[in-house]
Symmetry: C2
């Protein structure tokens, strides 16, 4: 599988690179970004996969999170994929809503037309992209997951479903219970259809209740987040976690909102958390 | 003088805020951003003014530089103004070039029509904005200047011309000698006219040669910066500084380009440098 370099920047003694490649999961050209810490010049390094939220692409986290100083210190690579397939031939919401279609892949494999042709971000993130990264970059087999909002949902659901592939999970402001919030209900109705029994495998609360978690989980949530009550519902996940014997911490952060200003304030804690397990 | 809050985010225990106000310097509505460190809740804090480069507004530095962690630790406020007047009635380049007109104010007072009506960023930065900040925020009288590219030019020229108002100057990739590079010659021809004797007061090399510097100066420049040879010409400034008995350091940074990835890698050094003098 070949990849084409789009751009490269030196940052904190390491490299930030953007690549494009033809993805067999989505049948589209996909773009991802990677940060390689300085240590990667001499040795293989572990990888943190960052899954972004609605409307984002590979660039938001890399430009705004302020993660590279600590990742360079800890020797962790970071991979940031796009949040959906893209292209003129890819289905989008008729009204170009921000919460369905382009930029809103929800890290699942769609089963309903017209979405099922390209919207296969679950397979892309779980199988195709890690294989591609392993083929082209100096990495170990240690991987962890982090994400924000829709990407926090992605990190939690992918990690809970594939505990042997990852070491740890963290999230900022995740959509914890998409089968019970407007964003999730809208997206799952379109991508997965009206049979709600198929939705459960993409819902962190339902997955955690059913399987528990072999992986440690760290979550930060701002209490001034405008999406807190209607969309994110951290209390639903806290209630489920309390029934389980798991390594789980959810921190409510006073005054913080849903933005990258929030993420940047606590990303070092998340990198330290993952470094312990990578 | 009143200001209207546009938005507010908690970040690193402090506040990032955006404000708009009617500016008498530019006769336009101007927007600026401010970071208030946690210390500002109890005491007055010094201020670093950040001047951005071509095409930027108040948001680029605040979102991409990763400066707030260290500024919160050191107790320094940061003010990021826009790079030009804006508005439907403000003159712009006929071809909307990125290096003239909107987003390209060059931190000078234009003397030529149609620019002279609104393009008065020098007065705005030197006089109006500091007075406004002092009126509305808990700050001390200690101020320093930093900037990038066109904003590095702004930081150097404003600091060199007003040494009693500031404590220190730093820059990333500054346009050091605008009277001898294409960006500067184009902008100064339009804003200041063809009499090049009027250009010297906005040229860091000429100002430093004429007046020296009472203020310490720190500059970082990437050696992989695509604008290095044609536009930025750090060697011109190094040559002038070598003739002066001043506190001056220009560091060439191997592998770094002109982007905010570069700025983020060394902004902590600049904040420490300013903190020594604030």
């Amino acid at each position: 599988m070949s990849i084409q370099l789009l751009s490269q920047n030196t940052v904190f003694g390491g490299l930030h690179q953007r690549y494009t490649h033809q993805a067999h999961s989505t049948h589209t050209q996909m773009t991802f970004a990677i940060f390689l810490p300085p240590q990667a010049q001499q040795q293989a390094v572990p990888v943190l996969y960052w899954l972004s939220g609605l409307t984002c692409n590979d660039e938001n986290f890399m430009q705004k999170a302020g993660a590279f100083r600590k990742a360079a210190e800890l020797g962790i690579a970071i991979v940031a994929p796009d949040t959906s397939p893209r292209g003129d031939n890819v289905a989008d919401d008729a009204e170009q809503a921000y919460d369905l279609g382009l930029g809103a892949g929800f890290y699942l494999n769609a089963t309903q037309a017209p979405w099922d042709k390209h919207y296969r971000m679950y397979s892309y993130i779980v199988d195709e992209l890690p294989a591609l990264i392993a083929e082209h970059f100096p990495i170990t087999d240690k991987k962890s997951l982090a994400g924000h909002s829709m990407g926090g949902h992605g990190a939690l659901t992918i990690g809970l479903k594939n505990p042997h592939q990852y070491q740890s999970i963290s999230a900022f402001s995740p959509i914890t219970n998409p089968t019970e919030c407007p964003w999730g209900i809208k997206a799952f109705s379109h991508y997965l259809g009206n049979d709600q029994s198929t939705w459960a495998e993409y819902d962190a609360c339902k997955l955690l209740a059913k399987h528990g978690s072999r992986l440690p989980i760290l979550i930060d949530q701002g209490d001034a987040d405008g999406f807190l009550e209607e969309q994110l519902k951290p209390n639903h996940l806290i209630d489920v976690a309390a029934q389980q014997d798991i390594d789980f911490e959810l921190r409510m952060q006073a005054g913080y909102d849903h933005s990258y200003f929030f993420i940047s304030s606590f990303i070092d804690d998340h990198l330290h958390f993952h470094a312990k397990h990578l």
